[in-house]
């Protein structure tokens, strides 16, 4: 019984949150990696673009709520995602037309692209703060929990309970659906194949009649979908705050590079690696160990490797280690 309790403690406090957080990171990381593979630059505006898409979802959620629309037990935000995606794609295409396309045609070095994306980051951040302001917003409605700890305890008769928030379940399910559709698209459709061809060898792809404008357009469309969904899911799970989104860019980068940048599978995997590492290394194992060991050996300390303040540090250290030992990432990405 104690063993079962220990497992449930671990499951409740590490596995479920890590899966949800990892899904959010994975979506962002695939966004980064896709831009890197096809458009060939590190996009420093990643976090703010996700925030921009989420902003529309938040505003539309408030609007729908005022009209009385809703999805019952599901959050209203899910209803607004398609509209938010449309706005996001529109914004990305405008940015691409007026900013990035010039450097793409000139074949500028990646550093210049990175600097330009910093400019885009500033502009996006300003627009977000001007439109919605920097404050913290919660836009979750509907049912909050799927399984409550007390219900679980009553059901199973165990001392520990499992809490499953609806946002966590939605995050994991939506991520799996979106990512599998995207992988199917990249691998099985003609457009997806042409995108991969363009990413592998631009000149050869052009020779075989692939239209670069179309590839770039499709890339931004997919990027818009990923960025918005990832952003909204994160916002539902925690809360929407522009500054936090900018900070999230850093673990997302770490996830993309750890998985092997330019490789969508790697990015997907990298998201979970980073999330699990962050949560497992900063989790206090006291309760878990207490169940496993006899009561005489119960630990006094928190049994925590690092304090939770160092959550981000864990992911960045993993990134540094990966860069040192295996610069191409876990799955082989583009060479550095």
């Amino acid at each position: 019984m104690d063993f079962l309790n220990a497992i449930i403690v671990l499951f409740n406090f590490t596995v479920i949150p890590a899966l949800a957080y990892g899904s959010q990171l994975a979506l962002g990381a695939i966004f980064v990696t896709l831009i890197y593979a096809v458009l060939r630059f590190a996009n420093f505006a990643t976090g703010d673009m996700m925030s921009f898409g989420t902003m529309f979802a938040v505003i539309l959620t408030y609007y729908f709520q005022s009209l009385g629309f809703g999805l019952g037990f599901l959050p209203t935000a899910l209803l607004t995602i398609p509209f938010a995606i449309l706005m996001m794609i529109l914004y990305m295409l405008i940015i691409d037309k007026f900013v990035f396309s010039y450097y793409r045609i000139k074949k500028s070095p990646p550093v210049q692209f990175a600097m330009v994306s910093v400019g885009v980051m500033f502009v996006t951040q300003a627009l977000i703060r001007i439109i919605i302001g920097p404050s913290d917003r919660r836009f979750l409605d509907g049912e909050k929990f799927i399984i409550k700890a007390t219900e679980f305890k009553e059901m199973t008769g165990l001392a520990e309970g499992i809490t499953l928030k609806s946002t966590q379940a939605i995050t994991i399910i939506v991520t799996l659906v979106v990512v599998s559709i995207m992988f199917w698209f990249l691998n099985r459709t003609k457009t997806g194949t042409s995108m991969r061809a363009y990413s592998d060898n631009e000149d050869l792809a052009l020779l075989s009649g692939i239209d670069p404008k179309r590839v770039v357009l499709i890339t931004w469309v997919i990027a818009g979908i990923l960025a918005t969904i990832g952003g909204v899911l994160y916002g539902l799970d925690k809360s929407y705050r522009p500054f936090v989104y900018f900070n999230n860019m850093l673990p997302i980068f770490a996830a993309a590079i750890v998985g092997g940048i330019g490789n969508p599978y790697g990015a997907f995997f990298g998201g979970y690696v980073i999330a699990f590492a962050e949560i497992l290394l900063t989790y206090s194992y006291k309760k878990f160990v207490a169940y496993l060991l006899p009561s005489s050996l119960e630990p006094n300390s928190l049994m925590q490797l690092l304090s939770t303040d160092y959550k981000f540090v864990v992911s960045f250290s993993i990134l540094v280690i990966v860069l040192l030992i295996r610069p191409s990432g876990i799955f082989k990405g583009k060479t550095i």
Binding site: V120, A126, I130, Y310
Partner: protein, 456 residues
């Protein structure tokens, strides 16, 4: 002289802008802006050495700035004796453990062939070390943090004069740059950017959360100053006489003695703050001028030519027998040390150390915008960039407020759009800086004052 005409015009315009602020807002604000412009100029000199001379992209400026600031606390604050007594040994012990881990790891790396066992043993060593450090340090840290937590709760510094910390700050930042450079300099440009950005985040979060070191987010206030304090200055006789003499015309117009005294007191209070700021300005200005002379000499020396050769064509320079890895590392350390110096100057100017305020937006990206806007590879350009961008950064809010008022003048005060825009006026600075950067990158990628190659 013709060559420098544009430069001189650009600087005169900048100076006039600051004087305008002095005339229309207040001289105190103008001097604050000027001081920050000078600090930004030191930072841009550092970033420009890395990016302009050698083409190394360093997005970790925030980390070095924070480390420079930390140096001010560690050097100038008086040591907290009680904290050393209760927990000093534990902290010293942990530092020794860290040193031991580093040396054993190096030993293993050198002594044994590359193998899986070697990797695992290093990983085991580090994890065991972390656990050991936690065991040794935790009681010490708890003891230190419980010593007078409201005002100290940290180990304090060495109690040396504050100007010493500028040098120590530069050295600390240089030492960090050595480690970072060893790790990251082999990476391709945009990976280097990401890696340095993340390492800077690690540094800042350590400074933020290790409260025994510098109080973390609880901030250290009331740091020493290289300039006199306003309150003491107001009591000094020669200063009072001096102010009375300057304003003698104005004072003569006032009839009653009592009123004269009140007016004089107010004047002295205003003048003392300006005098202190002028002291800082002269200190900072001398640092900027010294750095400018040195870097300018270096740029046109054989060493500068070598750096440019490496920047423009690594393969060719390598074929000519230049050690690129070594030169890159050296210039990375040099640039970071200058940024560390700037960080120390900034904390000295503020008189307080607030680790929570170190954010990549303000301390990395804005500095980069300064370098790009001013002109990469040209020190005069980089300094001008620091001035222009900092000026815009500070004055963007008043300017945008003015523009919003102008364009929404026909709307009533209670209009929703108007009040919303007025509320969000501070954020127009991001918009201004971003659009400015994009325009410069597009239409004048070499910056306001482009790099000049003098044929010798």
């Amino acid at each position: 002289m013709r060559n420098y005409e544009n430069v001189i015009y650009a600087y005169i315009i900048m100076l006039l802008l600051i004087i305008c602020v002095g005339l229309f807002q207040s001289w105190s604000i103008a001097l604050t802006i000027l001081n920050y412009c000078l600090i930004s100029a030191v930072m841009t000199i550092g970033a420009n050495i890395q990016w302009g001379y050698a083409g190394l992209i360093n997005f970790g400026i925030m980390g070095y700035t924070a480390l420079g600031g930390l140096a001010v606390v560690l050097v100038s604050v008086d040591p907290v004796k009680k904290a050393w007594q209760v927990g000093g040994l534990n902290i010293l012990g942990s530092i020794w453990i860290i040193v031991a881990i580093v040396f054993i790891t190096r030993f293993i790396l050198k002594r044994f062939e590359k193998s899986l066992i070697r990797n695992y043993s290093i990983a085991f060593l580090i994890i065991a070390g972390v656990i050991l450090i936690r065991v040794t340090a935790t009681p010490g840290i708890e003891a230190i943090e419980s010593v007078d937590p409201a005002v100290s709760g940290f180990l304090g510094g060495m109690g040396l004069p504050v100007l010493m910390s500028w040098i120590i700050g530069a050295l600390l930042a240089g030492a960090l740059a050595f480690i970072v450079g060893k790790i990251a300099l082999g990476l391709r440009a945009d990976y280097l950017a990401i890696a340095t950005l993340l390492i800077a985040e690690i540094i800042v979060s350590i400074i933020k959360h290790e409260e025994w070191l510098a109080r973390g987010v609880k901030n250290v206030i009331g740091l020493k100053r290289p300039a006199p304090y306003e309150v003491e200055l107001q009591k000094t006789q020669w200063f009072r006489d001096f102010i009375e003499k300057i304003y003698s015309n104005k004072l003569e117009l006032i009839n009653t003695i009592a009123q004269k005294k009140i007016v004089l007191n107010q004047l002295i209070i205003d003048a003392s703050s300006i005098f202190v700021k002028l002291c800082f300005t002269s200190l900072f200005l001398s640092v900027v001028i010294i750095l400018l002379i040195v870097t300018q000499k270096a740029l046109y020396s054989p060493w500068g030519r070598k750096m440019r050769a490496i920047r423009d064509n690594e393969e060719a320079a390598s074929a000519m027998g230049k050690n690129i890895v070594k030169e890159h590392l050296f210039i990375f350390i040099l640039g970071s040390a200058i940024v560390g110096l700037a960080g120390a100057m900034m904390v000295t100017n503020d008189g307080l150390f607030t680790p929570g305020s170190y954010r990549p937006m303000r301390y990395t990206f804005v500095i980069w915008v300064m370098v790009i806007v001013g002109g990469t590879g040209n020190n005069f350009g980089a300094i001008l960039g620091g001035f222009v961008v900092w000026f815009l950064w500070v004055e963007a809010a008043p300017i945008s407020l003015f523009l919003i008022d102008l364009f929404t003048a026909h709307l009533p005060e209670t209009n929703m759009i108007r009040s919303h825009l007025v509320e969000s006026a501070p954020y127009f600075r991001f918009l201004l800086i971003g659009i400015g950067l994009l325009l410069i990158m597009r239409y004048r990628p070499q910056g306001i004052i482009p790099e000049k190659i003098i044929k010798q």
